[in-house]
């Protein structure tokens, strides 16, 4: 059935394509090409540029609260310039605004940058290219997905400009804090906007995810069996499945919160006295919210991480000039991580009053997830062994990812152990852990993807030297920020404290906080190098050749013109897996997937 379907679509596409050729120049208007585009390549670029803008906003926020944490009470003209007199009077950050900044920083980074920005950009760009399809299964839904994301981002940004300030109950928005406007100013209009923005974001994510799944399953070109897919596509596929299964739960979670906030229901509220009066709500439980939230929240971690791991698998194999080690084990790990990610959410809730026995179950499942993760890390390292490593900026970021995945991963073993979690739950130890394992790994993966596929996206090359500079500044300062943070956690400092200066017991941590902030500022300035390189190269970078990295996968067989339908003639036919690098018996150290197997030659993916 699959083949027949593919064949029909192929035929239609071919017809459409010929048609398009005749009239391309006449019918493609500015609006249909650059704004409401149905083309996966343009949508990918739209996602990327939106995400870059959002990332700059979220990063600026982090610098503001890092300044506050290192030098509480100091006056910073920068803070006053960004936040104005209301929230940054005399250059001192307002405590409510501090909470708002950490909330919006987290929300933007997790959802807008690392979910939409990462999956949206690279799944859109690479799935049709690497499976050998003319475009996504539904270009129209794909376009809607971007525009829902855009609207959602605008609402989130807009919420920063309202009178009461944006949502400030933490990115996890636990009620009752997020439900009761009396409890914090951010839970007034700001929280409503946060919820509306997230609801729209979820629609975007679902439209995109369904499209990715259908495209991978139905639109693979001839010869592209599932076991010949590059690992990027496998990662995007499993990511999309996770998103489709878990985002609707976040939607219901948010919907019930909207009901509690505006319609007087009591899903999450019970026995509350606030603002000088008892509330009528009875029978609800905030723990219900936590269950629903983390049922998305934990798969979300892997929605963020898997695409980054997929990208690095591809980049490491290509640039080490070696097949990825243990291709099948890598697929197995992705599937195992994907499955397990649904049954570990309770490890965020050991200290919430949830039954301790239930906690034990989650300890067991959570520690299981360490096994496929370890397999992935070992396989990456083995791929480097006896390689011929070409240090493009993308490769350096990929190695950076493997390092941060290991460094942040090992502390996960500690946090998954509920008995130890009593000690460090909600402290800076957790902040250090998830920033390294999720934040750094995912953002390194994203940078690797941008440097590696920039030529496919913008048909030009990024500047290599600036790329190296960007990598070293980012890599060093990232560890410089988050490694010392573990020790702040070991001293017992809770997260989301506006200042630590109210507690004498934390006074001796001042220098660690200063060190963190100094590295954060250096790291942020380092991103200016990237931004310059990125935008400059879009317009004035060197023209890219067709296959700059001597890569095997299909996207490099398309002409460097970003044409509609990707391939000018027939779709390519695939004869081998994507990882025949340095294969004995071949003159070059790469064999594109379109090269037929020689007589007696085994396909690398199938022995």
């Amino acid at each position: 059935m699959g083949t027949k379907h593919t064949a029909t679509l192929e035929h239609e596409h071919a017809l459409h394509h010929e048609h398009a050729h005749d009239h391309d120049d006449h019918h493609e208007t500015f609006v249909s090409k650059y704004i409401f585009s149905h083309d996966h390549k343009m949508i990918s670029r739209q996602f990327l540029i939106t995400a870059v803008v959002m990332a700059v906003v979220a990063m600026t926020m982090s610098i503001i609260f890092r300044l506050q944490l290192a030098w509480p009470g100091e006056k910073f003209a920068f803070i006053n310039a960004v936040l104005g007199d209301k929230w940054g009077k005399d250059g001192i950050l307002d405590p409510n605004m501090y909470l708002a900044l950490v909330t919006i920083h987290g929300t933007i980074m997790v959802f807008m940058v690392l979910t939409a920005g990462l999956s949206g950009t690279f799944a859109n760009l690479l799935i049709p290219y690497q499976v050998g399809a003319r475009d996504m299964a539904s270009g129209f839904l794909n376009m809607l997905s971007y525009w829902f994301f855009f609207v959602s981002s605008c609402i989130m940004l807009g919420s920063c400009f309202i009178d009461d300030g944006p949502a400030s109950a933490g990115w996890t928005v636990y009620p009752p804090l997020s439900a009761l406007p009396e409890s914090i100013p951010g839970s007034k209009l700001g929280m409503t906007m946060w919820l509306v923005s997230m609801a729209i974001f979820i629609i975007s994510s679902l439209l995109a995810g369904l499209n990715y799944i259908i495209t991978v399953i139905n639109l693979r070109t001839k010869g592209m069996s599932m076991t010949r897919l590059p690992l990027t596509v496998w990662a995007f596929l499993v990511t999309a499945i996770l998103g489709v299964l878990s985002f609707p739960v976040l939607f219901s979670c948010a919907l019930l919160l909207i009901f509690d906030r505006s319609m007087g229901t009591s899903f999450y509220l019970s026995d509350i006295y606030i603002g000088g009066r008892p509330l009528d709500n009875a029978g609800g439980s905030p723990v219900l919210f936590e269950h629903l939230f983390w049922f998305l929240g934990h798969p979300e971690v892997y929605i963020v991480l898997l695409p980054a791991l997929g990208i690095t698998s591809e980049v490491i194999a290509t640039m080490a000039r070696k097949p990825i080690f243990g291709y099948r084990a890598m697929i197995g790990s992705i599937l195992a991580i994907g499955f397990l990610s649904f049954i570990v959410w309770g490890h965020h809730m050991f200290m919430t009053g949830m039954n301790p026995f239930l906690g034990s179950v989650f300890v067991f499942t959570t520690l299981l997830i360490a096994i496929p993760s370890a397999v992935k890390a070992f396989n990456y390292i083995t791929t480097l062994w006896k390689g011929n490593i070409q240090y493009s900026p993308a490769m350096m970021f990929s190695i950076g990812l493997v390092s941060s995945f290991i460094t942040g991963g090992v502390t996960g073993i500690i946090l998954a152990d509920s008995a130890l979690d009593i000690h460090v739950h909600d402290t800076y130890f957790v902040v250090a852990h998830f920033h390294i394992v999720m934040g750094l790994s995912a953002i390194f993966g994203m940078f690797a993807g941008v440097y590696h596929w920039f030529p496919k996206m913008f048909l030009r090359m990024m500047n290599k030297k600036l790329g190296y500079l960007h990598f070293w500044i980012t890599f060093i300062s990232a560890y410089g920020v988050f490694f010392p943070m573990h020790f702040i956690g070991l001293a017992g400092v809770p997260r989301r404290y506006y200042t630590n200066s109210e507690f004498p017991m934390f006074d001796n941590l001042v220098d660690i906080n200063e060190l963190d902030t100094i590295f954060a500022i250096i790291g942020a300035l380092g991103q200016v190098v990237f931004l310059f390189n990125f935008f400059y190269s879009i317009f004035r970078g060197e023209k890219a050749p067709q296959n700059p990295w001597n890569s095997n996968s299909l996207e490099w067989t398309t002409p460097m013109a970003n044409i509609h339908g990707n391939w000018p003639g027939k779709l390519p036919v695939v004869h081998r897996w994507a990882y025949d690098y340095s294969k004995p018996g071949h003159e070059q150290d790469f064999v594109p997937q379109t090269v037929p197997l020689a007589e007696g030659e085994h396909d690398g993916g199938e022995h």
Partner: protein, 343 residues
């Protein structure tokens, strides 16, 4: 002033633009292959990876050396020793994995840096290797799970000590209240609708066992070497009762009563004499002197550890661990709830 800054930025951008034009023109933009990775690049950044690893490891040990003495002091509660022992075992394991994996990662990154003269080895998979590194982590994790769950179950079990002290910690934005049972050994029922005036905790006036309950603000006392059973409630939003020196933590959730138990083993005075604590406090006071703040002594603390609003960062209460005698004396001086409420 702001206009000047903007003008300066604008000029800077124009200057940078002109500079770039010159660079582009001078190197004949379209012909170069700046992006091409040559042997010199590979050599430089391969070595860079090795140097990074060395610096990274040095930085790691330097931090341990500098910062580890600022960690929380030895546990003031009995169960904390289990947590600390488990912590140490897991942490050593993690550090070993961290060092070994990063060593091989950056080591290979250095050793196999590319060169046009070399060719990579085609090595797509090995069932044996993959088996080894699936099974070894699985065995290690089995031990971690077994010990972790054993301690977890012991720590989270109900309080069994017949001589236990039962108290309630009540959280609201942004203060704590401790409630003792009084002479009858029972905490009175509560009803949040009765919160008013002096009845800050909503103690139910229909329940006589609440009349002798004792309330403590700002600080509360506990006796050493007796199990403490704590019930926790919240008035408004989620808070978390975090007592890091006892390795104790539990969220306070509106509409629910949560619980945690522990047994203090050092009085506050004893804790102040432990060498580690003396050293820790010396470091703290040295830093305080730099800020011109007065020196402080060690105190057990209760902190809020769940984001709860504007003053989340300053929601604290002192805990004093007394000898049995001192504790009883202190408790006898506290007024019962009914006498407070009737005023």
């Amino acid at each position: 002033m702001k206009l000047l800054v903007l003008l300066a930025i604008l000029l800077l951008i124009i200057a940078a633009h002109q500079l770039l034009r010159i660079i582009e023109l001078s190197r004949g933009l379209k012909k170069t292959k700046e992006w091409h990775i040559d042997n010199a690049d590979n050599d430089m950044h391969g070595k860079g990876m090795l140097i990074f690893m060395i610096c990274f490891f040095v930085f790691f040990f330097w931090q341990v050396n500098q910062y580890i003495d600022r960690s929380l002091p030895p546990s003031g509660a009995e169960h904390g020793y289990k947590i600390d022992a488990l912590w140490d075992a897991n942490m050593y394991l993690c550090i070993v994995i961290f060092l070994i994996c990063n060593f091989f990662l950056f080591g290979f990154a250095y050793k196999y840096r590319g060169n046009t003269a070399n060719k990579a080895t085609f090595f797509p998979h090995s069932n044996k290797l993959e088996m080894i590194w699936t099974i070894i982590p699985a065995i290690a994790l089995a031990f971690i799970i077994i010990f972790g769950l054993k301690y977890w179950n012991e720590i989270m079990d109900e309080a069994h000590d017949p001589n236990k002290v039962t108290i309630e910690l009540y959280a609201k934005q942004f203060a704590w209240t401790a409630r003792y049972t009084g002479k009858d050994g029972k905490l009175g029922n509560t009803d949040y609708r009765q919160i008013a005036g002096a009845n800050d905790l909503g103690i139910d006036s229909m329940d006589a066992s609440g009349n002798d309950d004792v309330l403590a603000h700002n600080e509360f006392h506990l006796p050493v070497n007796r199990e403490v059973e704590i019930f926790m409630r919240s008035r408004d939003v989620i808070h978390s009762a975090f007592m890091p020196h006892f390795r104790a933590q539990m969220n306070c959730v509106p509409g629910m009563i949560t619980t945690f138990k522990f047994k203090p083993i050092f009085t506050t005075a004893e804790m102040r004499k432990i060498p580690y604590v003396i050293n820790l406090m010396a470091g703290i006071n040295k830093q305080r002197a730099k800020f011109g703040k007065e020196p402080v002594e060690f105190d057990y603390l209760l902190l809020c550890n769940k984001i709860c609003g504007r003053n989340h960062y300053n929601m604290q209460m002192n805990i004093i661990i007394d000898t049995e005698k001192d504790y009883n004396q202190w408790l006898a001086k506290q007024k019962a709830f009914k006498t407070i409420a009737s005023k």
